[in-house]
Structures are given as structure tokens and as C-alpha cells.
């Protein structure tokens, strides 16, 4: 029951405060001292986080409504269609909001340290606040269109932040790529909305989903079409096959951005959307199947690529893609709660991993290549410790967070009604092993073994400033803590603080979803029950705890294998990996080059499109036909003109000749002319 309560007006502050922060920093931030910029940015994210916490408490209270709605002015209002500025908060929203504001706030804090020396400090925080604004709009939206606002808006923020170092061509390119690839997804989202308007006459979630709910006979057909188009949108935003290509490139952005946007929050919007629309998806098994297959395929595929990457952030990027694949898989088998659970845990540990990686990079003055790391364990112990927590979490080692969430997904996949459910489970399982492998590979290569890095004593190359092109040398910063640090060093506490908090969350985060089979209460599942009530049928009580435990053991086994292989390859016998790679050079190169997907896209789509535009459209059609016809008409007229003027020879006799001929013609017309051709 939607209930509009004045008590919840503070909901508006959740998006509006970050927006205010954006406006302040975006317009006058350049003139403000850094302290003020920081204060604005942090306050504008802290208050929403507090509000969310308060909401959480209120909604957990007994007798609290499952759904809160606030409606403001209409945004678009025409005869037959009205779209309001309306927010909905239910339990799903609450989880997402928690992630967004909580993790977002932590990353804001981290960024204060990480970006301390950047020229565009104010700009960075303005963009980050803008992102917070749009992300909360996305999450809070009560209608497809408002969700789309956030959807596009986070894309914009992502574009701006990826291109933060706009002087670097690769950064600008990556930003553009992200935006455009996302637009391909948006294309699907938009079409889905058009169809929804046509079929339902509204874009409000409540209206649309109620309409579906009260018509149980609706199955497939147009619903499948809508669902598939939505999936296209989700695929774009959540970086699934075939639109995942933008995410690895997005690592051009500052590391906190990668952590916040490209790991914890924005990229999960696709999963959130599918979960939000579960009523719709439940009616279209085909679409769900597509989601599951895409999820599984992406999860495996990205893991493959992740195994051989050398850039620390790219490994994490592919791992993100892979983990998102898990979430997709969960949604695809109808286990939305599991997907959201994994989303939650993933937000913690992936943010942690990125931030820790950022700390490593910070320590190495911008070095991202793992081949030039090693042995950092002792130099940056806190970072090492937090990173270890993250690695254990993502690898799925019990009782770290991802163990529970990933297992839930694998279990749900196994027991789902999907005809190829077992195969999907297998894929998930193998990927779990691979995840373990490449994460421990990262771990070993970075923190163990010999030191491959060079010490940078030069302050001018210090820190993240290295990201920027040589043109943007940071002015000597007056921060006394920073000036005397030389070489590889631990990050300041403003960065380590969030790391530690996230490390703790990565450890305990999974405990909220310990399934009953392992003695827990699956709190998160029950928490989400009001939202996924219709989908809860999947979680059949018939499933035995034994099976669940058995599957958990198998997956732990897979993780162990992954760990062991990584241990052998990268710690025990560091040459083995190279040797194996040498055995299959073609395969290795193929994988190392990310299966040449970017190149294939470029050759099959981008280049032909450009050539088509340049040669066929611009050259032939526009130059030839459109302009040519005008030119031809002009030339014809000119030709006729010279013909007419040829008569004007200037000679009286020839003029008389023309007169005589004209006279004869007039006589002829007059004497023999019939008026039939006129009337």
C-alpha cells in the first residue's frame, strides 16, 4: 500500500544534498579553498547516509510499512501520460541506498586523501556528488522514467569521472566509450519504456507491476519483448557480454571512481533494475533464461581474461565483470535475493579491493603493472592486511562475505527450474575456482616475492598526480605529513580508515545471509521477502539442507584448487606460469589480448559504420544525390539560360528571323490550335 507520509519528506534530501554539493563545488568550487570543498562534499554525502541509516531503523521497526512513497510535482504531464517526481522506498531500495550512501561516503573520505594533490580537486568532488545524486535518484525512483534519469545520470557522472584526466587521450576515449556503450543499453531501456507506455499507459512501477500481477494470464509475448529490451539496458550498464567492453577501459579514471562507480554501485544498477522488475521477468521465462545465460557466460569469460592481465586495476575490473555475471546469473534463475545479497557483499569487498589497490598504486607512485610490484607486504602492512581481507572475501573463503553470497547463487542455480541449471552451476563453480586463482595471483604478485619496483624519491612524481599528464604538475602541497614521505610508503589514515572499515564489512558482511542450511537465518532473504514475494516460490522448502551443504563443500574445494594453483605458479615456482604460457603461445596471446573483442568490434562495427557514413551517406547520398540534384538543377537552368541567350546574337536580321518564326508559330496556334488541352 503506497502511503504518503510527511515524515518521509527528508527522503528528498538524499538526492538533493549531493546535488547541492555538486552545484556549489561545480560552480564556485574553483575559487574555494580545499577544506571547504572537502567539507561540502563530505557533508552532502554524510547526511544522506545518516538519513538512510535512520530509514533502515524505521523500516526494520515492527509494523513499519513495507513501502514508502513520496510524490512531488509532475515532471512530464500530457494527456494520457503523467510522470511524477516520485520516490519509493522498500526493502530492496533500502539495501541499495545503504550501499550507495554508505560505501559512497567511505569512498568520499578516501578520496580526500587520494586526490589531495590533484589540480581538479573541486571538480572531482563535484562530479562525485553528482554521481551520488543520480545514483540515489536511480535507486529511489518510482517510475521507469525517473529510474532512467538516474540511469543516464550515473552514466554521465561516470563519463565525466573516467575522463577526469581529460588531457590523456586514453582517458577521454574511455569516457566516451563508456557513455556510448551505455547508450546502446539505454536504447533498449528506452524502447522498453515506449512499449510499456503503449501497453500500460504509465511508467509507474506500482501501476505497471500491479497491472501484471492482477492479470496472471499474461505471459511472454510483449512482456518478453519488454523484458529483453530491459535486459539490453542492464547488460550495458552492468557490463555484461557483449557490452562489457567499456568497463575495463573505465579504469582510466581515478581509483576511487573505479571503486565507487565501476565496482560498488553504478554497475550494479542493471541487477537492481532486473530485481526491481522481477514481476515482469517472472512472466517471461525466456527473458530470464537469457539473463542467466548472459550472466554465466560473462562470469566465466571475464574470469578467463582476468587470469592473465597484468594491470592490477584491470584484473579487478574483469573480476568485477565476472562478479556482476554472478549476480546476473542469480537474477536469471529467479534468485533475486541472492543476487542482491551478492551485490551487497560485492560492494564491500570490491570497493575494498579497489581502494586497497589504489593505496598500492599510491604507494608506488602510480605504478599499476603487477609485474613491477612484489614484496610489498612489509612496506605497506595495513594495505596488505585490508587487501588480504578483500581477496579472501572475493575468493569465497568461508566465512568471508562472498562465500555465503556466492554459494547462495550457486545453490539457487543448481536447484532452479532452468533446464540448463546444472550446466550454469558448473560454469559458476569453475569460475569460482578461477576467481580464486586470479585473485591470489594478484595477491602473490603484489605482496609476495621479490621487489620489482623502483623507488620514486621525486616529490613531483608523487602520488596520484602521476596519473595526469606531465602538464599538470601539482603545486607543492603544504601538507606537512606528505612532504617528508619518500619512496614506497603507507597511505595516510584518511585513506586507510575506509579501508579498514570495508575490510571489516567484507569479513562480516556475509553473515546477514547465512542460509538456514548452515545454521543461519538468511536474514537478508527474509528482509527482501516483501519485495520478491512472488519470486520467493523459487526458494522451495523442498530443497534439502544436505544438498546445500554439499554444494558448499564442492565450491570451497574449487576455491582451494584455485588458491593452490596460484600458490604454485606465483609463489612457489614463479616460472611455471610463464612456462605454461609458453606452451600455448597463441592461446595465451588470445586471452592476454582480451580475445581481441575490442578489435573485433572496431573492425566489424565502428570502422564499417564510419566508412559507411563517410563514403556512402556523406559522399554518395549527401554529396551526390542531395546536393547533386540541386547542382544538376542549377546546371540545367544555366544551360537553358545560355541557350536562351544564344538567340540574342545582337544581329537585327536574326532577330527578325526569330520574330518571323514566332509569328508563324502564333498563327499556327491560333488557326489550328484547339483549346482541348486547356479545358
Amino acid at each position: 500500500m503506497p502511503s504518503v507520509s510527511p515524515n518521509y519528506d527528508s527522503l528528498w534530501l538524499i538526492p538533493l544534498l549531493p546535488f547541492a554539493g555538486f552545484l556549489i563545488n561545480g560552480t564556485i568550487g574553483r575559487k574555494l579553498p580545499r577544506v571547504l570543498v572537502t567539507a561540502v562534499a563530505l557533508i552532502c554525502t554524510a547526511i544522506p547516509a545518516a538519513i538512510v541509516a535512520w530509514l533502515w531503523i524505521t523500516m526494520k521497526a515492527a509494523g513499519a510499512p513495507d513501502l514508502i512513497q513520496v510524490v512531488s510535482q509532475p515532471w512530464i504531464q500530457i494527456t494520457g501520460l503523467q510522470i511524477n517526481f516520485a520516490f519509493t522506498v522498500d526493502h530492496l531500495t533500502l539495501i541499495m541506498l545503504g550501499v550507495v550512501t554508505g560505501v559512497g561516503f567511505l569512498i568520499h573520505i578516501y578520496s580526500v586523501g587520494y586526490m589531495a594533490h590533484e589540480e581538479g580537486y573541486w571538480r572531482f568532488f563535484a562530479y562525485l556528488n553528482l554521481f551520488m545524486f543520480f545514483m540515489s535518484v536511480l535507486v529511489l525512483a518510482e517510475s521507469f522514467l525517473l529510474m532512467f534519469v538516474g540511469w543516464e545520470g550515473v552514466g554521465l557522472a561516470s563519463y565525466l569521472l573516467i575522463g577526469f584526466y581529460f588531457k590523456k587521450d586514453s582517458a577521454a576515449n574511455a569516457g566516451k566509450k563508456a557513455f556510448i556503450v551505455n547508450r546502446i543499453g539505454d536504447f533498449g531501456f528506452l524502447l522498453a519504456m515506449f512499449l510499456i507506455v503503449r501497453e500500460f499507459g504509465s511508467l509507474d512501477f506500482t501501476h505497471v507491476f500491479n497491472a501484471i500481477s492482477v492479470n496472471p494470464e499474461w505471459h511472454g509475448g510483449i512482456l518478453t519483448a519488454i523484458a529483453l529490451l530491459l535486459v539490453l539496458g542492464a547488460v550495458g550498464k552492468s557490463a555484461q557480454i557483449p557490452l562489457y567492453v567499456w568497463l575495463p577501459d573505465a579504469m582510466e579514471g581515478p581509483t576511487p571512481v573505479s571503486a565507487l562507480i565501476h565496482a560498488a554501485t553504478m554497475v550494479t544498477a542493471g541487477i537492481y533494475m532486473v530485481a526491481r522488475c522481477h514481476t515482469l521477468f517472472d512472466r517471461s521465462p525466456f527473458a530470464l533464461g537469457v539473463v542467466a545465460i548472459i550472466g554465466a557466460a560473462t562470469c566465466m569469460f571475464a574470469a578467463c581474461i582476468g587470469m592473465v592481465q597484468h594491470d592490477i586495476k584491470r584484473v579487478l575490473a574483469y573480476s568485477t565483470v565476472s562478479q556482476l555475471g554472478y549476480m546476473f546469473l542469480a537474477c536469471g534463475v529467479g534468485a533475486y535475493a541472492a543476487g542482491i545479497f551478492h551485490l551487497l557483499t560485492h560492494a564491500f569487498f570490491k570497493a575494498l579491493l579497489f581502494l586497497a589497490a589504489g593505496s598500492v598504486i599510491h604507494a608506488l607512485s602510480g605504478e599499476q603493472d603487477m609485474r613491477k610490484m612484489g614484496g610489498l607486504r612489509k612496506r605497506i602492512p595495513i594495505t596488505f592486511f585490508t587487501m588480504t581481507m578483500g581477496v579472501f572475501a572475493i575468493a569465497g573463503i568461508p566465512p568471508w562475505a562472498a562465500f555465503f553470497s556466492k554459494d547462495e547463487i550457486l545453490y539457487q542455480t543448481f536447484v532452479s527450474g532452468n533446464p540448463i541449471g546444472k550446466l550454469l552451476w558448473l560454469v559458476g563453480l569453475v569460475t569460482a575456482g578461477m576467481t580464486s586463482f586470479y585473485m591470489f595471483r594478484l595477491w602473490f604478485k603484489t605482496f609476495f616475492g621479490p621487489e620489482h619496483f623502483e623507488e620514486h624519491a621525486d616529490l613531483h612524481d608523487h602520488g596520484a598526480a602521476v596519473h595526469a599528464s606531465s602538464g599538470s604538475h601539482a603545486v607543492m602541497v603544504a601538507d606537512p605529513e606528505e612532504t617528508h614521505v619518500h619512496g614506497v610508503h603507507e597511505s595516510p589514515w584518511i585513506m586507510l580508515g575506509p579501508l579498514v572499515i570495508l575490510a571489516i564489512l567484507s569479513f562480516i558482511g556475509g553473515w546477514v545471509g547465512v542460509p538456514a542450511g548452515m545454521g543461519g537465518h538468511d536474514e537478508i532473504g527474509h528482509f527482501l521477502d516483501p519485495v520478491f514475494a512472488s519470486g520467493a516460490a523459487v526458494e522451495a522448502p523442498t530443497a534439502s539442507y544436505g544438498l546445500e551443504r554439499g554444494l558448499a563443500v564442492i565450491s570451497v574445494f574449487a576455491v582451494a584448487i584455485g588458491f593452490y594453483v596460484a600458490y604454485i605458479f606465483y609463489y612457489k615456482k614463479p616460472r611455471t606460469a610463464a612456462a605454461i604460457a609458453g606452451r600455448f603461445p597463441a592461446l595465451y596471446r588470445l586471452v592476454e589480448n582480451k580475445f581481441y573483442i575490442d578489435e573485433i568490434y572496431s573492425a566489424l562495427i565502428v570502422t564499417p559504420l564510419l566508412m559507411f557514413s563517410r563514403l556512402f551517406l556523406s559522399g554518395l547520398i549527401d554529396g551526390g544525390i542531395v546536393n547533386g540534384s540541386g547542382a544538376a538543377a542549377g546546371a540545367t537552368t544555366r544551360g537553358l539560360s545560355s541557350l536562351v541567350r544564344r538567340v540574342q546574337s545582337g544581329n537585327i536580321r536574326s532577330y527578325a528571323g526569330w520574330l518571323a518564326l514566332g509569328a508563324a508559330a502564333v498563327l499556327l496556334v491560333m488557326i489550328f490550335g484547339r483549346s482541348v488541352w486547356l479545358h
Binding site: 510535482q73 588531457k167 507506455v197 557514413s613 544525390i625
Partner: protein, 580 residues
């Protein structure tokens, strides 16, 4: 006296008075600029009277602020002005853009200022006149008039040596179809005896204009083609790129879109509902193709203005697609998108003009890395870009979304596939706009422009751009404020159009039957109309000289028969009365 009945006249002719004033003042110092700015600001202030006194509750769609006086008795031409939801905001927009146009030309136009600002104001007169005229003749007069200042602006203030050619191309492209439009209008007048739009709309609704479908079809094409060229609709856009490339910024801002689109909505739809139905599948297709076509060509342009020109083609195509869906969403969105085009496109051209003012080139390859040098510029540029690519919460999105929604809801043949094609436009539009932004502002400084000392936006430029940006945001967030008037008009239009029956429903793309001369002229319909109404007869008072007029009527008949035999088929014979 209530000003509501004269406000439109005042709005329309204040710029004219200003133009005359400027023509008489000496061209010294900044006098011209200040003069033009004052006049345009006054005009804008006057246009604001409309939204504040508009009766939004009137759902009948009646015209407001109407003024109707007989102008010429024969042919029956009225001075008939009025606005409804369709035109009201366009009037305001025209008033809004003019001061900005003056501001943006402040320094760029350094010589022949008097000519420039006079022409600029005349252009505004013509545009305002087009939007407020409800008499076909009056409308046509303004329509034709609008060509002249624009042509002269291009021809005399163009950027390169090609300016005259571009100007003449523009003029011919638009004038020749307008000439055919005049034929169509005259034909309508010959059939109905009125130029008044409300009367014609009523006649059209009751199929009272003509029962000759072939002739009506041709007349509707005459109307539509003239408007379509002006819009321009793909593939009639031959003039666009050249004209935009040459024209000074203030002129480019109002070059494409509004006039033609408004005219289609106002005249084609009202007078030819059935025929519009017939052509709609084709127009939808052209709209969708135009969106993608414009975007794809813009993708490969090397000249910033050409790029923006093709972008403009894409954006006006959106409107075409929208209005020809005949759905409320499509029509509302189309009208809204027309406003957006004026703002977004205008701002884009202003920004490009500012760049040109600084660096003297529109070649995209000469730019690069300007973001660091011109932070305000890049900020406003990106906002404009986002408005153009249709980012939600900015104005561009509302129109585009509604148009495409309408496309999906429509009942026109093949609407789904064209809507899908049109929706791909969101990808391509983003591609070329972002690529342009990247090439101009990101990366490293280009050698060609690195050494040019170029300050960031000055106060005047801020003053010109911020209103635009503010409107982009406002219109993106608070669209109902504008939409309530538009929606009333759109709803009525949609209802009328949906009631109209397509002449032929079986052929998806109507192929205009090319009638032979003999064929068409042989139609009875083109012969004198039976219902030709004119008061000419009444003007001739033939007073009987003697009293016994009736007695000799038979004789009169004999004479007039022999006479009329001589004057074959004269429709309007003098009313002779004869007496002995």
C-alpha cells in the same frame, strides 16, 4: 482598451519600428548594438505578456489574444492574429533568442552594423509574424518575408567566399517550394473563398474544401513540401549545411526548424488532415531516417558548423517523426522538441561562434585540449552537448522521449520499425557530440590554436549563455509549465488527425500519382468552383433606370446569355439589369 487584442500586433511590429529606427540612427560606436539590444529586450518583455495572461484552462483550443480585421476586401484577406498552445511559446522563444543573438554578435559584427542589426530585426518581425498569423495570406507574406533578411545576412555577413552561393542556394531552395505553396493556397482560396485558418479548418473537418481527392492531394503536397524544405526534412536538406556554415551565429540560431515545423503543424495538419494521414508513413520514415542520417554524417564531419548542421537535421527529424505519429505524446513532444531545438541548437551555435571568435576556425582538426584554457566554456559546452544528446533532466530529453513514445503508440503503418530506427539515434547522437567535445576540448593542446591568446568567456558571453543553460535545466525539470499550453493544442490536433481518415489505407508508402496536365486540368474540380464565395457581385450596383424592371427581365436574360456565350464560363459576371 484591453491590451490582449493588440498585444500580438505590438509584439510583431516593435522590432520593425526598431529596424526603422536603427536605419535612421548613425552607425557610430556601439549605438547599433545597444539599440538592437534594447529593441529585442522590449520585444521579449512584451512576449512575456502572453504566458502570463494565457488562459490555460481553455480546453477548446480556441485562439487567444485574437485580433481580426478586414485588410483587403477582394480577395478576402484579413489581418487576423492569434496564438494558441502551438504558437504561444514559439513567440516567446523567438523573443527570447533575439537579445541573445544581439549579444553574441556584439563584437563579431564589426562593420556594416546598421545593415546587420536592421536585417536581424526584420528577420524577427517575419518570424513573429509567421507564428501569430491566422490568415493564410498574411502568413504567407511573413513566410516569404522571412527569406529576405536571412538571405542577405548570409550573403553579406557570410564567413567565406562561398557566402553568396550559399545565400542564393538557401533562397532558391526555400523560395521555389514556397512559390508552389502559393499555388496551393490560391487553389484553396479559389475553392473556398477564404484565407482564414479557422474557417478552413472547419471546412477541412467536414471535407468541405473539395471532393477532388487528386487535387487536394497535390495541394497538400504543395504545402508540405514547402514546409519540409524549410524544416528541412531529409532529403530536402541540400541548403542546410552550406547556409549554416556561412551564416553568422545570430542568424544560424533561427535558421532551421521552428518555422517549417510550426507551419506543418498549423497548416498542413489543419487544412489537410486526410492527406496528412496519407503521407504520414512516408514522413515517419523520413523522420526516422533523417535522425540516423544526420547523426551519421555529423559523425564524419571535419567542420564544426557542418557537424552542427547535420546534427540539426537529426533534431528536426525527431520533430517530424513525432508530429506525424498523430498521437498526443508525439505531437506534444514534437512541439516541445521544437522549442528545445531552438534553445539547444541555438546555444550550440553560440558556443561555436564564440570559439570561432577566438580562434578563427571551425575546422575540428585545429582544436584540442581547450578544456584547461577555457574552463567556463567547456562547462557550458558540455551542458549544451548533454541537452542536445537528450540527457534526462535537461530539456532535450522530454521532447525526444515523448516523440519516441508517440512513435511507439502510433497507428501509422510501420511505426514500430521506424521508431526503433529513430531510437538508435540516441546512440549516434551521443557518439558525434561526445566525439566533438573530446576533439575540441580534451587531449593535448593543438599546435594550431595553442598559441592563440584566448580568454575564457567574458561577462557579455556569460550573459548570453546562462539564460540558455538555465532554460535547458528548467525545461528539463519543470516541463509541465510549458507543456500545459502545448498539451491542450496537441490533444486537439491529435483528436482531429485521428478522426481524419486516410485516403488510401492499403498502400504503405503513398506514391504521389503524377497527374498529366490534361488529366488534372480535365478534372471538373479545377474548373470554376460552384461554391466560390465572393462579394464582388455586391459591389456593382446597377441601378435600373426606369421602374418597370421586372417586365423586361426576359430581354435581359437574352442579352446576358449571348454575352456570356461570348465570355465563356465567366463566373463572376456583373449583375446587369436592363430596362427599357
Amino acid at each position: 482598451m484591453n491590451i490582449d487584442h493588440t498585444i500580438l500586433t505590438v509584439i510583431t511590429f516593435v522590432p520593425l519600428a526598431g529596424a526603422v529606427l536603427l536605419a535612421l540612427l548613425p552607425d557610430k560606436g556601439k549605438l547599433m548594438q545597444w539599440g538592437a539590444l534594447t529593441v529585442t529586450l522590449i520585444t521579449f518583455a512584451l512576449t512575456l505578456h502572453l504566458p502570463f495572461h494565457y488562459d490555460y484552462s481553455a480546453v477548446s483550443g480556441a485562439f487567444q489574444f485574437e485580433q481580426n480585421a478586414e485588410w483587403i476586401t477582394s480577395p478576402a484577406i484579413h489581418y487576423h492574429l492569434g496564438v494558441d498552445g502551438l504558437s504561444m511559446w514559439l513567440v516567446v522563444l523567438t523573443g527570447f533568442l533575439a537579445p541573445l543573438g544581439v549579444l553574441i554578435s556584439w563584437n563579431t559584427i564589426s562593420d556594416r552594423k546598421k545593415l546587420f542589426y536592421t536585417l536581424f530585426l526584420l528577420q524577427q518581425v517575419a518570424m513573429l509574424g509567421i507564428f501569430v498569423s491566422l490568415d493564410l495570406f498574411l502568413y504567407y507574406a511573413f513566410w516569404e518575408l522571412s527569406l529576405v533578411p536571412m538571405t542577405l545576412l548570409i550573403a553579406t555577413f557570410g564567413r567565406t567566399v562561398n557566402r553568396r552561393r550559399a545565400a542564393i542556394k538557401y533562397f532558391l531552395y526555400t523560395f521555389i517550394p514556397s512559390a508552389i505553396l502559393l499555388v496551393g493556397m490560391l487553389w484553396i482560396y479559389a475553392r473556398t473563398g477564404t484565407f482564414q485558418l479557422p474557417e478552413l479548418t472547419q471546412l477541412a473537418a467536414t471535407h468541405g474544401i473539395s471532393n477532388n481527392s487528386a487535387a487536394l492531394w497535390l495541394a497538400s503536397l504543395a504545402f508540405l513540401v514547402a514546409f519540409a524544405v524549410k524544416v528541412p526534412v531529409f532529403p530536402l536538406h541540400g541548403w542546410l549545411a552550406d547556409a549554416i556554415a556561412e551564416a553568422p551565429t545570430a542568424a544560424v540560431m533561427v535558421l532551421a526548424g521552428k518555422l517549417g515545423l510550426y507551419s506543418i503543424l498549423r497548416f498542413s495538419f489543419s487544412i489537410f488532415p486526410d492527406e496528412s494521414h496519407r503521407i504520414a508513413p512516408l514522413m515517419i520514415a523520413l523522420g526516422a531516417i533523417g535522425i540516423v542520417y544526420g547523426a551519421l554524417i555529423a559523425l564524419v564531419q571535419k567542420d564544426l558548423k557542418q557537424l552542427a548542421a547535420y546534427g540539426t537535421l537529426g533534431h528536426v527529424s525527431v520533430v517530424i517523426l513525432g508530429i506525424f505519429t498523430f498521437t498526443i505524446a508525439g505531437l506534444d513532444g514534437g512541439i516541445y522538441a521544437t522549442l528545445n531545438e531552438g534553445i539547444g541548437g541555438g546555444a550550440l551555435f553560440m558556443l561555436l561562434g564564440i570559439l570561432y571568435e577566438r580562434y578563427g576556425t571551425y575546422d575540428i582538426r585545429d582544436y584540442g585540449g581547450l578544456a584547461a584554457k577555457l574552463p567556463w566554456m567547456v562547462t557550458l559546452f558540455v551542458i549544451t552537448t548533454l541537452s542536445v544528446v537528450g540527457l534526462p533532466m535537461l530539456n532535450g530529453f522530454v521532447g525526444e522521449f515523448l516523440v519516441l513514445t508517440g512513435g511507439m503508440q502510433s497507428t501509422i503503418t510501420h511505426h514500430t520499425r521506424w521508431t526503433v530506427l529513430a531510437t538508435t539515434g540516441v546512440i549516434f547522437t551521443a557518439s558525434y557530440m561526445l566525439w566533438m567535445v573530446q576533439r575540441v576540448f580534451y587531449g593535448n593542446l593543438n599546435d594550431n590554436t595553442a598559441d592563440v591568446p584566448a580568454p575564457d568567456l567574458d561577462a557579455r558571453e556569460h550573459l548570453a549563455l546562462w539564460p540558455m543553460v538555465a532554460l535547458m535545466l528548467l525545461m528539463g525539470v519543470a516541463s509541465p509549465y510549458w507543456m500545459r499550453a502545448i498539451d491542450a493544442a496537441g490533444t486537439i490536433l491529435a483528436r482531429e488527425l485521428q478522426q481524419a481518415q486516410p485516403v488510401t489505407t492499403n498502400s504503405p508508402l503513398p506514391v504521389p500519382t503524377v497527374p498529366s496536365l490534361a488529366n488534372v486540368l480535365a478534372q471538373n474540380d479545377l474548373l470554376p468552383a460552384v461554391n466560390f464565395k465572393t462579394d464582388r457581385e455586391s459591389k456593382l450596383n446597377l441601378i435600373p433606370a426606369a421602374a418597370d424592371a421586372t417586365k423586361k427581365e426576359s430581354k435581359l436574360r437574352n442579352i446576358s446569355t449571348s454575352w456570356s456565350a461570348a465570355l465563356h464560363s465567366a463566373a463572376s459576371k456583373p449583375n446587369t439589369e436592363a430596362t427599357k
